[in-house]
């Protein structure tokens, strides 16, 4: 069953007189509970596609159905609710809130969506990712690998059906990157989630169930 369906997607960036069409008439399907890797050259529109699917950016044309919801130009409340409940996002540069502790960063999406915090589940995720001991520490005191684990935990916190990851290992060394990736894949398998990951690392892409080349 397709969890993501995209039809005739177009996106153009305009900078003064220059127009750069990064996505042109793209259509694709992603099945649920699969690990899908999106690869391609720099500037091919990988991150843009991910941002559009995640509701972080808007497309110029086309249809984007995620989890049965049309997220092309919905209202703010629907989109925010979608991001908070249906989606987890892992950024390349972590994007943690520096003034909140590890634990508070992780549960922030739940608090935003005014949900109930499942302490057992959060503790389990933190333990699985090896950051339980660091739960009261501020992100500034963590290593890059640890920060990305916090970001993954945050993405898993609301038990979303889809995890979006934009080069999650891009800022990490090979070993740390492998550990983080394994944890991420382990997480989605354990919790029956779909993972859509943008990467230019073909070794990582090889681990995916499906590879989409842009």
């Amino acid at each position: 069953m397709n969890i993501i369906e995209i039809r005739n997607l177009e996106k153009t960036y305009v900078d003064g007189d220059n127009k750069n069409k990064v996505i042109d008439n793209l259509s694709l399907n992603i099945e649920e509970k699969k690990f899908v890797a999106i690869t391609g050259k720099s500037g091919s529109g990988k991150s843009t596609l991910l941002n559009i699917i995640s509701g972080l950016d808007t497309a110029d044309k086309g249809l984007v159905m995620v989890n049965g919801k049309n997220i092309h130009k919905p209202n703010d409340a629907e989109l925010s609710s979608f991001r908070a409940n249906d989606l987890g996002f892992v950024f390349q540069d972590f994007n943690l809130i520096p003034v909140l502790s590890v634990y508070d960063n992780i549960v922030l999406p739940i608090k935003i969506s005014k949900g109930n915090i499942d302490r057992i589940y959060i503790d389990e995720v933190m333990s699985m990712l090896g950051i339980y001991e660091k739960k009261d520490v501020l992100p500034g005191k963590l290593s890059g690998g640890q920060r990305q684990r916090v970001a993954i935990a945050r993405a898993l916190a609301n038990k979303p059906s889809i995890i979006m990851a934009d080069e999650p290992t891009g800022n990490l060394d090979k070993n740390t990157g492998d550990i983080v990736l394994n944890l991420l894949v382990e997480g989605i398998r354990k919790y029956n989630q779909t993972l859509v990951m943008v990467t230019h690392d073909m070794d990582i892409a090889a681990k995916a169930d499906q590879i989409l080349r842009l």
């Binding site: 941002n51 995640s54 972080l56 950016d57 808007t58 703010d76 409340a77 925010s80 609710s81 979608f82 991001r83 908070a84 409940n85 989606l87 996002f89 950024f91 540069d93 994007n95 943690l96 809130i97 520096p98 003034v99 909140l100 508070d104 922030l108 999406p109 935003i112 969506s113 501020l138 945050r154 609301n158």
Partner: protein, 772 residues
């Protein structure tokens, strides 16, 4: 969201400290400025009100009204109540007025206790000296079988003389007698002397320096709530003081407006500065808001988050700012002003509701504005736009200088244009205000000196307390003249009742009065009545109509006067004088009165060119029954008071400079903060830290210089306009440009340099790790 807002404030210590300290300093300075403004206005008010005892007179109240007001305002006002209780009819023709008195009645009546004490119990009575003399009475004697009469009846009473007072001026040949107020009331109530209303004619004086309008209307409402149509109630404000306070051209009104205008001006500047401080603080969190949006926060939640953060800033800065303001006023401002004025001044630190509302408005308005603008800005942004803030590296507007440093300085200023704009606006406002305030102070100073020297020759006015009925004896005038320089003596325009009797064909005329008009007024009277221009003496009233010769007796000396004409009651001043039931009047012009009627040495008011105090006059005149009105002298003596305006302006200039420095610090800090990585990169490729310091200081100073040049150019026509308004002839002062601008540039440079140095202290590896 509140917790997150609090986390931002607690954890982002540097940002919080910079923003909060700026806000707190704003509030402290504003608080101090407002209080100094109030101090200036209070000192003027006090200066103007110190020259007379009472501001408001309310007369003809009934007893209940008097009591009610007395009990209501007892703690606020100094009041004296008297009741004209009843007539003591000694014979068919002579009425003595018995007055119930209490409190400080001796101040209310222009009499002094010659012998004995005030009435303190039932049966006590105080009589006038002339009555005592004519009846051979002394203190302790009994006044038996006194008939007290009213319109409807009479009663008998007995009194014992407890005191004798100096003579009161009176309309008739009767006198005043004083008994206890309670006894007067009791006599009236028990004996039904009057038909309906016991014709209480009462008045009291309110001594409240300054005109608290609300309070006055409150008093009014008390009066009219109990208003009895049978009683004529009259409310009179001291017209001279009223003019001083509320007349548009009144001095106090002018100063009031000036201080308010300056305060308004500064408030606007403060609002702009506070806006920028808040804005810059939030601007650094764009990315944070993007991340929170990315993980599911609605726009309304971001709005709440920003609102919470601003609210916390507002509360903290208001509380600390007001407390800091009080401390600052007591420990610093007071001393600074004392040094500038050369004397200690009292700064009122009262946190009244007006100040609190003002402070709340000053900080809330820009905060709301920031909040609103952020909401608008964030509304049209996708989360990813906030997370990945786009840099504007390629732009055709960029210059390509041969010198790489100039290239970097100019291009960075442009690329970082939001902060550059804030910096330019701050510097522009700071420089402009500094120049204007310093130039304004200089202009005020010039005008003060000019006006002090140009003050009227007549600085002191003295007049007797009861102007209509007495005069300065000539020997007293001589004594005053011998000690001080009398420059001007006012014309006579008074009526004389007690000192004269008018005879027609050897028959004494009843209720006639002699009025002395100035020559100018007499001319008007003659014109109105179409009389011969040579008229010096005219009569008014049917009884003397057509009479050609009258005998006027003044102080026992008789003068025969030939009447030149008869006038009707047309002239407004005459109508005013004729309200006291006089049947007629003999009006003579001033020249004739001086030459022929012995008025040559009699003056009502004198104007003195010199510095003389009320006490010195008392020493010369030997008594304290004159009015001493010394506004001009008070103003001219209070040059230091006027200097307080200068202090205010200078203080504002310093405040603006200080605030702008804080704001510049915030802008520069924010500007460098999000460019740390870039700074690290430039250093990493071989640029020395000194060179980098030069680039960063250069790019900021470039904007500072640009803003100060613009503001200096703009301030010239504004200064010229201000000078024109102030009628200043001193020429444009150099102080604003010579002191203000170098000072503000020096301080800005220092702040920038400290910031840059702070940034450059960091290791390059750390700078490279910093996220944009």
């Amino acid at each position: 969201m509140f917790k997150l807002a609090l986390s931002y404030i607690i954890k982002m210590k540097k940002n919080t400290i910079v923003c909060l300290s700026g806000l707190i300093v704003s509030i402290i300075l504003l608080f101090s400025l407002v209080q100094i403004g109030y101090m200036i206005m209070d000192s003027y008010q006090s200066m103007m009100t110190s020259n007379s005892n009472y501001d408001i007179t309310i007369s003809n109240l009934n007893f209940d009204q008097l009591e009610e007001i007395n009990s209501t305002f007892e703690n606020t006002y100094e009041m004296s109540g008297v009741i004209f209780a009843a007539d003591y009819q000694e014979s068919n023709t002579v009425n003595h007025y018995i007055v119930g008195v209490e409190g400080n009645w001796l101040k209310t009546f222009s009499v002094t206790m010659v012998n004995g004490t005030s009435p303190s119990k039932a049966g006590d009575i105080v009589i006038e000296e002339r009555y005592a003399k004519s009846h051979g009475l002394k203190t302790g004697d009994a006044l038996e079988n006194v008939t007290l009469s009213g319109d409807m009846g009479e009663c008998k009473a007995e009194f014992k003389v407890c005191g004798i007072v100096s003579d009161t001026p009176s309309y008739t040949n009767g006198t005043f007698m004083f008994i206890c107020l309670d006894e007067a009331k009791s006599i009236l109530e028990k004996n039904e002397l009057y038909e309906e209303n016991p014709a209480y004619t009462s008045y009291f004086l309110i001594d409240e320096h300054g005109y608290p309008e609300d309070e006055i209307y409150y008093v009014y409402s008390y009066i009219f709530k109990n208003y009895d149509k049978n009683v004529y109630t009259n409310f009179v404000e001291n017209p001279t003081k009223y003019d001083l306070y509320y007349n548009d051209s009144g001095i106090f009104s002018g100063i009031n407006s000036a201080v308010k205008a300056v305060a308004g001006f500064v408030s606007i500047i403060m609002v702009i500065f506070i806006y920028y401080m808040m804005h810059i603080n939030l601007q650094g969190k764009y990315k944070q808001y993007g991340i929170i949006r990315a993980i599911g926060a609605k726009k309304s939640q971001i709005a709440s988050l920003i609102g919470c953060e601003l609210m916390i800033y507002i509360i903290i800065s208001l509380v600390i700012g007001c407390i800091g303001g009080i401390i600052f006023n007591n420990f610093f401002a007071k001393k600074i002003i004392a040094i500038l004025l050369g004397k200690e001044v009292a700064i009122n630190n009262a946190l009244n509701y007006k100040i609190i509302i003002y402070m709340i408005l000053i900080i809330t308005v820009p905060s709301l504005l920031v909040w609103f603008i952020f909401i608008i800005k964030l509304r049209n942004k996708n989360p990813i736009d906030l997370i990945q803030k786009k840099e504007v590296f390629a732009n055709k507007k960029f210059i390509n200088a041969k010198n790489i440093y100039i290239d970097l300085i100019v291009n960075n200023s442009y690329r970082n244009r939001k902060n550059s704009r804030a910096l330019i606006i701050t510097m522009f406002l700071a420089s402009l205000m500094t120049i204007l305030f310093i130039n304004g102070a200089s202009s005020v100073s010039f005008n003060i000196n000019k006006s002090i020297f140009a003050f009227s020759n007549c600085e002191v006015t003295i007049s007797l307390a009861n102007l209509d009925y007495t005069y300065f004896p000539e020997e007293q005038l001589d004594e005053i003249s011998s000690e001080i320089n009398c420059m001007y003596k006012q014309s006579i325009l008074k009526s004389y009742h007690d000192q004269l009797s008018v005879k027609k064909d050897n028959e004494e005329m009843k209720n006639y009065t002699l009025i002395v008009y100035s020559d100018d007024m007499m001319k008007k009277l003659i014109d109105i009545n179409k009389l011969d221009n040579d008229c010096h003496i005219v009569t008014f009233g049917d009884e003397v109509s057509g009479c050609k010769e009258l005998v006027v007796s003044i102080d026992g000396k008789e003068y025969k006067i030939n009447v030149d004409g008869n006038v009707s009651n047309e002239y407004p001043s005459l109508r005013g004088i004729m309200t006291n039931n006089y049947e007629g009047a003999v009006i003579v012009d001033e020249s004739y009165a001086r030459e022929n009627l012995g008025f040559a040495g009699q003056w009502n008011d004198i104007f003195i060119d010199g510095d003389i105090t009320s006490q010195e006059l008392t020493d010369i005149l030997g008594e304290d029954n004159f009015e001493y009105y010394d506004l001009n002298a008070a103003v001219s003596q209070s040059q230091s008071q006027l200097q307080s305006i200068l202090v205010l302006l200078a203080y504002m200039a310093v405040s603006i400079i200080l605030l702008s420095i804080f704001l510049i610090r915030s802008i520069v800090k924010e500007s460098f903060e999000h460019r740390k990585k870039e700074i690290g990169m430039i250093c990493a490729i071989g640029t020395r830290k000194n060179q980098m310091t030069l680039i960063l200081v250069g790019e900021t100073l470039l904007l500072v210089v640009l803003a100060t040049i613009i503001s200096s150019i703009i301030s010239i026509p504004i200064s010229m306009y201000v000078y024109e308004i102030m009628n200043s002839e001193s020429g444009l002062p150099w102080q604003g440009f010579g002191i203000g601008i170098p000072l503000i540039m020096l301080l800005s440079g220092l702040v920038i340099w400290i910031n840059v140095k702070g940034c450059m202290k960091e290791k390059i590896a750390y700078l490279l790790k910093c996220e944009e």
